[in-house]
């Protein structure tokens, strides 16, 4: 606990000093005290919880569909040589089209709606996930597959008992990458499309020239993603890798 939050204390102190000393104009830079006060007020008024829940709902809807589509699709492509040949270049290309870039056309199709936003988030998740799964499956050592077959495993069993556990680290990595892109796409979508949500809140505050609101939004987002990544996603990824007894040589700062 101390180790996680301790290091932030001096940072907050320095922040406080900079704000107090008015190193930057106060309408562009506020201190922790102001931010905290605004934070409390937004909660009391129920604005922050409402926006947060809106953002969350959109995110998790997208994530859910993304997983439901991406994981099976990923494995199907990974297991079939022809599917891979046909789709791998397409996967790479579509992954390369920044998710945000889909917003305009999705708006043409679905208007400024929840469907539009969900589509973009599903997109952000599906492609990194599929790509990760395909390479993960390919990296399962072929000796393991042979060993399973010479122990009597049929093709289905090889899939469930060797391929899936073997590709699990790749699934975890894919989810983590996809989510990283996903919530960013959400914020952008909320700014562009939005009528609610954290992204919208920040941009709205900006429009009103109230920098505090922007700060609150950013810090809330940062804390949430940091918590999600550090407490759930990264350990999950590490856990699947450790089940392999492998030590990865470098942690990716994401």
């Amino acid at each position: 606990m101390v180790r996680t939050f301790g290091p932030f204390v001096p940072v907050v102190l320095i922040w406080w000093v900079i704000a107090e000393a008015e190193v930057f104009p106060p309408d562009l830079f506020v201190g922790p005290g102001t931010v905290l006060a605004e934070f409390r007020e937004l909660i009391a008024k129920g604005i922050l919880p409402a926006y947060l829940s809106d953002s969350f709902t959109r995110l998790w809807t997208g994530v859910l569909f993304g997983l439901l589509i991406g994981i099976p699709a990923g494995f199907i492509v990974a297991m079939s040589r022809w599917a891979r040949r046909l789709t791998w270049p397409l996967l790479l290309f579509f992954q390369a089209i920044a998710d945000i870039a889909w917003l305009p056309i999705v708006i043409v199709w679905f208007g400024f709606s929840l469907t539009a936003v969900t589509f973009v988030i599903v997109y952000t998740i599906v492609f990194p996930l599929m790509i990760s799964i395909v390479s993960g499956v390919e990296e399962v050592p072929k000796d393991l597959v042979r060993a399973a077959r010479s122990l009597g495993a049929g093709r289905f069993r090889v899939f469930t008992d060797v391929i899936v556990p073997g590709a699990l680290p790749a699934v975890a990595t894919g989810i983590r990458t996809g989510l990283g892109y996903g919530w960013r796409a959400l914020i952008a979508a909320e700014i562009i499309v939005g009528t609610s949500g954290i992204g919208f809140m920040m941009f709205d505050a900006r429009r009103a020239g109230v920098v505090t609101g922007v700060f609150v939004g950013m810090i809330v987002l940062g804390i949430l993603w940091y918590a999600l990544d550090a407490l759930i996603l990264a350990p999950f990824e590490r856990g699947t890798i450790e089940r392999w007894g492998m030590v990865r040589t470098a942690e990716v700062g994401r």
Partner: protein, 266 residues
């Protein structure tokens, strides 16, 4: 009817880089009887691993037949269990889980699985390590787990692909003695691939000596050593030395045509 019958086995493939047809295995025939330990020995690149892969059912031969128990080989099967040089243990399963795997695949009733697995773990000296994971074991112990995993399926023939090559010299000696002991206790039928002459003579009842590619059987040498075998006795035995020298001379001319290990894909 022999347990394993290899008849005029031939394996050709097209090298992707040079577009040449390479004959890895020229014309190989030999048999293995039940309860025999046969070593398949040859210089690097002679196709011995290819032969093992074909017998295991991982590759299909160009021509010739492989029969186990009178039936042609059509694919991998627990009848022909394989012990891999890379161990190929399932890292996410415990020691016990690895041994139980084959039993599960064969539909052995749940309540029988653990006792059977236990028995084989004791046989290889891994009792007490059931709950450990492969990466927590030493190299020697991992390979013993590989052996237990295969034996638990009571295969018609146990195929071993240079199983001790990834292990340090001292552990290798120990594992060779352990393997002989296990063999002498259980008498499985063993097909053991190696390039180490001393290992082959120590372990085997007969040694199939292959030439370089395109390989054929140069000679099948019967090892005149009594069982049980121990390294200390073998090293002092003139029979042992004589057999090793004989085979060494046989292969000497071929050594210069051997293919460097890191280019050997057979």
């Amino acid at each position: 009817m022999s347990t394993l019958e290899i008849s005029h086995l031939r394996m050709e493939y097209v090298d992707a880089y040079t577009d040449e047809t390479v004959t890895a295995v020229g014309d190989v025939s030999f048999t293995i009887e039940e309860g025999e330990f046969v070593a398949v020995l040859g210089p690097s690149g002679c196709g011995k691993t290819t032969i093992l892969n074909i017998v295991a059912g991982f590759q299909k031969q160009t021509s010739g037949s492989v029969r186990v128990g009178g039936k042609d080989v059509t694919g991998p099967s627990p009848e022909r269990g394989v012990v891999f040089q890379s161990f190929a243990l399932f890292p996410w399963k415990t020691v016990l889980g690895n041994v139980v795997f084959g039993l599960r695949m064969r539909g052995v009733p749940r309540r029988d699985r653990e006792p059977i697995a236990q028995r084989y773990l004791e046989l290889v000296g891994l009792d007490g390590f059931e709950r450990k994971f492969p990466h927590e074991l030493s190299g020697g112990m991992q390979q013993r787990l590989g052996v237990a995993r295969v034996l638990a399926n009571e295969p018609a023939v146990m195929l071993m692909d240079e199983p001790f090559a990834s292990v340090d010299a001292q552990t290798r000696r120990k594992l060779q003695e352990d393997l002989t002991a296990i063999f002498e206790a259980n008498r499985p039928t063993v097909f053991f691939v190696t390039h180490d002459i001393e290992e082959a003579v120590f372990l085997a009842d007969r040694v199939v000596v292959l030439s370089t590619r395109p390989s054929r059987v140069k000679e099948v040498v019967t090892v005149p050593l009594e069982r049980p075998r121990h390294w200390r006795d073998a090293l002092e035995s003139s029979d042992y030395r004589r057999t090793v020298t004989y085979i060494t001379d046989m292969l000497a001319g071929d050594e210069s045509r051997a293919i460097p290990a890191d280019l050997d894909t057979t």
